[in-house]
């Protein structure tokens, strides 16, 4: 019987780095040159099947990048099992913003959260401002996963999600801790509880019996 997991994933990053485009590529294998800016957050799901037939289902929260929406972000990352922090390789400032997000996650999010740093728009490498070395070095220092992607060409997109899917079952919190911490309804008004207790998959590490 193959194992099944379900994880909450949140995308964070500066505005217009390509968070929604990454998700669109990952979920539907499509690309829009000009994707409408995300307001609040968008919810999508996608399942990855690993080589050993383990399936990992991602509940994806794609968040708005503008600073004003930052106040809503905690409710999306609070119980996330993994976060993809995206920057745009053609904008140095976007890596700065990514660092800020990573610091915030390290302070505020579940300690067992898996964080992937993702340099998007690799198709625009002619305009590159952020070198691979720089980003990689930072990721190593912080113990993050790292990769470059192009939502436009599709390059690297499934790789990064697959890598997360492989890593998660080993690192995700045991059923009673972290990920499933919030019990009871509506712990706060911001409470998009990403852990649905009612769902049979609440125990993150337990293979589902279905």
């Amino acid at each position: 019987m193959s194992k099944q997991f379900q994880f909450k994933l949140v995308l964070l990053g500066e505005s217009a780095v390509g968070k929604s485009s990454l998700v669109l590529r990952f979920v539907k294998d499509q690309f829009d040159d000009y994707r409408e800016s995300t307001i609040g957050a968008a919810f999508l799901t996608q399942t990855v099947t690993l080589e050993d037939q383990t399936t990992v289902k991602f509940e994806i929260w794609d968040t708005a990048g503008q600073e004003r929406y930052k106040s809503l972000a905690p409710m999306y990352y609070r119980n996330a099992n993994c976060a993809v922090v995206v920057y745009d390789i053609t904008q140095t400032t976007s890596l700065e913003k990514a660092r800020t997000w990573i610091r915030e996650l390290q302070r505020q999010a579940d300690p067992s959260i898996v964080i992937a740093l993702c340099g998007n728009k690799s198709d625009l490498s002619a305009r590159r401002q952020v070198t691979q070395e720089e980003a990689k070095k930072y990721a190593e220092e912080e113990g993050l996963m790292w990769g470059e992607t192009s939502a436009k060409s599709g390059e690297g997109v499934s790789d990064i999600f697959t890598a997360i899917a492989k890593k998660l079952p080993q690192t995700a919190a045991p059923p009673k801790a972290g990920g499933a911490a919030r019990s009871g309804a509506a712990a706060s008004r911001a409470g998009v509880d990403l852990n649905k207790q009612s769902n049979a998959l609440g125990g993150q590490n337990e293979p589902c019996n279905c």
Partner: protein, 704 residues
């Protein structure tokens, strides 16, 4: 300046008013039932009608209803391009959209050159399609420069005529429209038409008018104030002369001066838009255009050369449209959208649940499906079947209220005897040709704004263009991805995008608390489809001040949370099982409803539905969107309470793009809910309750 060959030339006598009008009109079977106020509308129509009669027989009674019908649809291609202009782009025309205006101009000329009845009638129905801003483009002298090259352009439309695709069933409205044309034409604007074309119109002048967009006086008035010395000679392309420029721009390419403390990048953005206002870009409306601002830090020689090549070199107005461009025009819907495949989850908002009005209901069947009917593509938006008769009713209901010194109508009002009809008719949908006029009317009424304040806001808009905004970079990031499926906003740095940038830029400076928030973009863009940039800015101010968008946009989104609180109370009371399901699945309302309230449903329902919702929002205010939210939950209540429903199914469903099976059913349901006085007073109480909760710090646990 090239002589505007078409509109100004016609043998419209100076004294051309009713006499010739009625001659023309007499060919219309409907003339008899016109009231004088209906005739107030649009001298330009009369004028153009007369032009047709010069060139052919189409205007002289030879225009039978069937002619109109056949021609309109027998000439499908052309009709499409027409719809680009008419149905869609009230805003485009009023928006100083060089491209649209020029198309328009050439369209105007078509019958003249071809003497094809069909085109004439198409033209006519087009004109009549648009009560207000039509005039902006067909009569505005600012557009005249475009017409200098129309002789060349018109040939494109000849190409368009031959292939008649299968005629869609002609909506009856066309028939009626055509017959209304003469009726509408009185002639207050003839004076306007006869104004000599200014050698250069100050760009902002195009914006300094009401949605009618046709105030000659205000346009001309601002010319002298232009600090620029007639730069049109320097910038030969005719288009440039019509492009709105920020005040203080010089005729030279570099048009702005960085302000103290303004970031270099931000200035680069602001300056780029200002420069492009002067020059325009190639293929506006057709091509994607060349990115300039995002790549600012890494511009190479080749990218700069690409940028230069994308500038309009003045050939835009005279070149032939390519087959691809024609195809593009054909594919537009009546609001100006391309047929694009949507990547959203499209679900049907079924009408059946809407036949029952809002009242406490028991739980639905436990075996109900968890998902709604999904749609593969966005269905086409047909012209509402009763559009024509509604147009006639609105014609009779409205009268001019404010005119400028040139006699042009700047604002409409509802006749006292018809005031009791306004609500009902607004709920039935404002006919699109009346939308800009009626939206203006509703906003003036709701915000109690007078003409003087609106003029002042216009000044404010122009002045703000001179100032830096810390939001410029963010706005620039969002502009190209705001309803980019619309022809006005498609081309990077095209006139629509420039207007959008400027409106958002100016608005970001208006309220220091709100600044610019993502979500304002689609709102401003929708307004730009119906108003000139300057007026669109004023509309945003109305929405912010009077329609409580201030609380929606300010930090922490207090108005959003308040609306959600009210929505939850209504859900709890009328659909307790749904409320319980949300609770047990731990679905907070913010997770799906945030974008509904922040974009005023701009990206969650088809454009036409959005317009209908805005019709009633502008009439009734912020309770409308709570009602829409409740309606959506109401429709899907059985899916939500299904035994098989879970966090994912419910959230996926409510995050979808909703395509109403029947807009009228939706609107009527909302109308009944909002018409319930008890409900409205409870909504008011809940809003107050929420404010109290916030004041006492109890709000953090009050929402799902």
């Amino acid at each position: 300046m090239d002589g505007p060959s078409l509109i100004v030339v016609p043998p419209t006598p100076l004294g051309y008013h009713h006499p010739s009008l009625s001659t023309t009109a007499s060919s219309s079977p409907d003339l008899g039932r016109l009231t004088s106020s209906e005739q107030e509308r649009g001298s330009s129509e009369a004028t153009i009608f007369t032009i047709y009669s010069m060139y052919g027989d189409e205007a002289n009674g030879g225009l039978s209803l069937s002619d109109v019908r056949n021609s309109k649809y027998g000439n499908h291609t052309y009709q499409q391009s027409q719809s680009t202009n008419s149905d869609v782009c009230d805003g485009a025309s009023s928006d100083s959209n060089g491209y649209i205006s020029s198309k328009y101009a050439s369209a105007t000329e078509l019958p003249a050159r071809t003497s094809v009845i069909s085109n004439g009638s198409v033209r006519l129905s087009y004109l009549d399609d648009r009560p207000l801003s039509t005039y902006a483009s067909c009569s505005s002298p600012h557009n005249d420069p475009h017409r200098s090259s129309d002789t060349i352009r018109s040939s494109k439309f000849k190409d368009l005529s031959p292939p008649p695709p299968p005629p869609p069933p002609p909506p009856s409205s066309n028939v009626v429209r055509a017959s209304y044309i003469p009726s509408d034409a009185e002639a207050p604007r003839n004076t306007f038409l006869r104004q000599p074309t200014p050698t250069h119109s100050h760009p902002s002048s195009r914006h300094s008018v009401s949605p009618n967009g046709n105030s000659p006086t205000s346009s001309f008035r601002s010319i002298p104030t232009s600090p620029r010395p007639q730069p049109s000679e320097l910038l030969s392309p005719p288009e440039t002369s019509t492009l709105p420029l920020p005040l203080g721009t010089s005729g030279s390419k570099s048009s702005l001066v960085p302000s103290e403390g303004e970031e270099v990048d931000a200035f680069f953005v602001r300056n780029t838009y200002a420069e492009l206002e002067m020059t325009g870009v190639k293929g506006d409306g057709y091509v994607e255009g060349v990115e300039r601002t995002r790549a600012r830090a890494s511009r190479s020689r080749s990218s700069i050369s690409r940028e230069e090549q994308a500038l309009d070199d003045g050939s835009e107005k005279s070149r032939e449209l390519s087959g691809k461009e024609l195809e593009t025009l054909q594919s537009l819907d009546r609001y100006g959208f391309f047929t694009v495949t949507s990547h959203d989850r499209l679900v049907l908002l079924s009408s059946l649940p809407l036949t029952k009005r809002l009242s406490p209901v028991p739980s639905g069947p436990i075996k109900a499906p968890t998902n709604a009917t999904s749609l593969p593509t966005l269905p086409p938006t047909p012209i509402p079947p009763k559009e024509a008769s509604r147009i006639a009713k609105w014609n009779r209901m409205l009268e001019p209220r404010v005119r400028d010194v040139g006699g042009n109508i700047q604002a409409w009002g509802v006749k006292a005897s018809k005031e009791n009809k306004l609500r009902e008719r607004t709920f039935k949908g404002i006919p699109d040709r009346w939308r800009s006029g009626v939206w203006d009317l509703l906003m003036r009424g709701y915000s109690r704004t007078g003409q003087r304040e609106i003029n002042k806001l216009g000044e404010e808009y122009r002045e703000a263009m001179e100032k830096p905004s810390t939001y410029d970079i963010q706005i620039d990031l969002d502009v190209p991805r705001t309803i980019s499926g619309h022809i006005m906003f498609r081309t990077r740095y095209g006139s629509g995008q420039r207007s959008l940038f400027h409106v958002l830029h100016s608005f970001s400076l208006r309220c220091s608390e709100c600044g610019y928030v993502q979500g304002m973009g689609p709102i401003a863009a929708t307004l730009l489809c119906y108003f000139e940039p300057e007026r669109a800015y004023a509309c945003l101010v109305h929405l912010h001040d009077a329609y409580a968008l201030h609380t929606i946009f300010s930090p922490g989104f207090p108005g959003l949370l308040e609306a959600i609180y009210v929505q939850e109370r209504i859900t709890e009371q009328t659909m307790p099982n749904v409320y319980a399901a949300f609770k047990s699945h731990m679905i907070s309302t913010t997770s799906y409803a945030t974008k509904w309230y922040i974009t005023l449903f701009a990206n969650s329902v088809p454009f036409q539905t959005q317009l209908r919702l805005w019709d009633i929002f502008l009439l009734e205010g912020q309770d409308v969107f709570v009602a829409v939210a409740v309606a959506i939950v109401w429709v899907y209540r059985d899916n939500i309470t299904s035994g098989a429903a879970n966090f994912e199914t419910v959230l996926s469903l409510l995050s979808s793009f909703f395509v109403p099976q029947d807009e009228d059913a939706l609107l009527s349901w909302i109308g009944k809910m909002l018409g319930d006085k008890k409900m409205r007073s409870r909504m008011g109480q809940w809003r107050q309750q929420w404010k109290n909760l916030v004041a006492t710090g109890m709000d953090s646990t009050a929402l799902l």
